[in-house]
Amino acid sequence: MWLNQSCLEGGVEMWLNQSCLKIDTASVLKEDCSLSETFFKRTATDEQCIEMYKHMVQGRIFDGIALKFQRQGKIKTYPPIRGQEAAQVGSAYALNSNDWIYPSYRDIAASFVHGMPIDKFFCYTMGKMAGQHLTDLSIFPIQIVIGAQFLHAVGGAWASKYKGEDSVSVAYMGDGGTSEGDFHEALNFAGVYKLPVVFFIQNNQWAISNPIHKQTASQSIAQKALAYGITGIRVDGNDVLAVYEATKLAIEKAKNGEPVLIEAVTFRQGPHTTADDPTKYRDQAEVEQWLTNDPIERMKKFIITTGLWDERQEEELLNDCEEIVLKAYEKALTIEKTTIPKVLRATYETMPQNLVRQLQQRGEV
């Protein structure tokens, strides 16, 4: 299950290549949605299972409404999360509140689980700067540049270690980001300094229009950990329990100076963003195939068959989730708008002469 340097011991001849590695995808839920202990012993309690399920549903309901709101002009560009709920929720649910997350723009459900109020994200998509006031929640500002946040997480983990804090930094990224230099430099630094950091990759198969096999020639993303002397694991990203267990174990390792790269194998069911049309580059057959492996459907089947959940509760949950999202939108509407003077004032702690003059030229004096 864990990929580390010992995987290369013994069996390696002169040439090191992919055949030296056997890579499994760790899971908890079997195909029929019953439990398997091949990889993990399930530690999530029944209550935690339900809670994770609720978070996933909340994420999906939010996603649906956000998409509609974007089409209605109520919010601007939005990156849908549909299909990635298990990967985001399972990982974030394994964290303590003093652990930090370093999200990219699509890690919305993970951020909600870690405490980001939904109205903040609405603000973000409405162009209100208040959407990025998140640090009191140990959530680093949402990153737009692919990969840059991995180095910030390394710095954050370094700061934790330097100050002796019991906190892990978890950085989120997609498969496309693993081609960026910052990804490799981050893993390298983490390995050299043995930092308490977990790199969480959602391999959703597509980076806008570029499929994973055009992104990398590696047979897995997880194996990239080996090159940097850190530990890797490949986990079924549509299996929330597997993601949860893997992240929990990874955090323990990271706290002991063993950084971990997690590859959660999942699928982006929707477009890259609301400005994208995936039918231009992606076969519907592939989408249909993945829809049969929907993360929420799988977990729902598991909790229903084990008697933890029923359709009445489901209906109630859907209504609650929708109400929460609509209320959050109403709240976001009341939050103060960003103005040019505010932006001028927010660029430095003290406004330098050039900005003071620009403010004066607007007649704001």
Partner: protein, 325 residues
């Protein structure tokens, strides 16, 4: 007071700052045991240990990116980029991240980071070891760019950069590292960022300059002494933010301006200074504004670098030209 070079002044400032503030740590390539390729950080690792003086892998983006991460979590990293020409590797982390986090979060996340880097020509170094790239950062809102030319300014400005709540790029003129010595106050002190210094007062023409060109300008002005021209020399010391007030006041008085810097001409700091003066001092002007700079080419091979950089002759000639008006 003690006689120091720029290298000694910076080293002293780092030592004093680190002694007083446990949150400061230095990171960069070869800065530990080796003391930096210019020995600016000599002795720091011995004194403060590997926890606070960190040799990094060769990865400029990671040095700045990790420093951003450190700075946003309550520490005060001082990162070194071995030569300014190598900072291209870290442009997103400098400009897309460090400079913008405050603005992105409306001040809820700040990046109190210092990035030190030697720059400029004159030591016959290989390619990309002599670049003056300050204009790239002048055009990057959110950053401050400090460029001292003397040991005492270097010491005081570095102290101010360390205290500054915003990211500061602290650029060290490598040609002057050891060539100038002056009496420097031993106690810890600050020189304010954003304040130019009037090196010499004059009535007929203002020369605005900074960094290694300050020395060349002084030589040129000495040449002009016998010709009855009274030159005011302004050392900007900080190029972002520019000290508008000092330069406007000076040009209002003299009515003539020459800007001198080593970086390429087009879109450089001189262009910005010229624009500021055109906007604010037009009716005081007796003559066109002239720039004496490097040429609009990449920094050239070492055999011709002396001729490429602003020379005394080019500065003298520019001053004579504006004085003819």
């Amino acid at each position: 007071m003690m006689e120091m070079t720029i290298v000694q002044a910076i080293n002293t400032c780092l030592t004093q700052a680190m002694e007083h503030d446990e949150t400061i740590l230095c990171l960069g390539e070869d800065i530990g045991k080796n003391g930096g390729v210019f020995r600016v950080t000599d002795g720091l690792m011995e004194r403060f240990g590997e926890r606070r003086v960190v040799d990094t892998p060769i990865a400029e983006s990671a040095i700045i990116g990790a420093a951003v991460g450190l700075a946003t979590r309550g520490l005060k990293p001082i990162a070194e980029i071995q030569f300014l020409g190598f900072i291209y590797e870290a442009m997103d982390q400098m400009v897309g991240q460090a400079a913008r986090l405050r603005s992105r979060t409306e001040g809820t996340v700040t990046v109190p980071l210092v990035v030190r880097a030697p720059y400029g020509g004159g030591i016959h170094a290989p390619e990309l070891h002599s670049d003056s790239l300050e204009a790239l950062f002048l055009h990057s809102p959110g950053l401050k760019v400090v460029m001292p030319s003397t040991p005492s300014d270097a010491k005081g400005l570095l102290a101010a950069a360390i205290k500054d709540p915003d990211p500061v790029l602290f650029l060290e003129p490598l040609k002057l590292y050891r060539t100038i010595k002056e009496e420097v106050q031993e106690e810890y002190y600050e020189v304010p960022i954003g304040k130019a210094s009037i090196v010499q007062e004059g009535a007929h023409v203002t020369i605005v300059t900074y960094g290694p060109s300050v020395v060349t300008v002084k030589q040129a002005v000495a040449q002009l002494q016998g010709q009855g021209v009274s030159v005011e020399i302004i050392d900007l010391r900080t190029i972002a933010p520019i000290d508008y007030e000092t330069i406007i006041q000076s040009v209002d008085k003299t009515g003539r301006l020459v800007v001198v810097h080593e970086a390429a001409k087009t879109g450089g700091v001189g262009a910005e200074i010229a624009a500021v003066i055109a906007e604010n001092c037009m009716y005081a002007m007796h003559a066109p504004i002239l720039r004496v700079t490097g040429y609009d080419t990449p920094f050239p091979v070492s055999s011709i670098e002396a001729e490429w950089m602003p020379t005394v002759a080019r500065i003298v000639s520019a001053v004579q030209n504006v004085m003819k008006e």
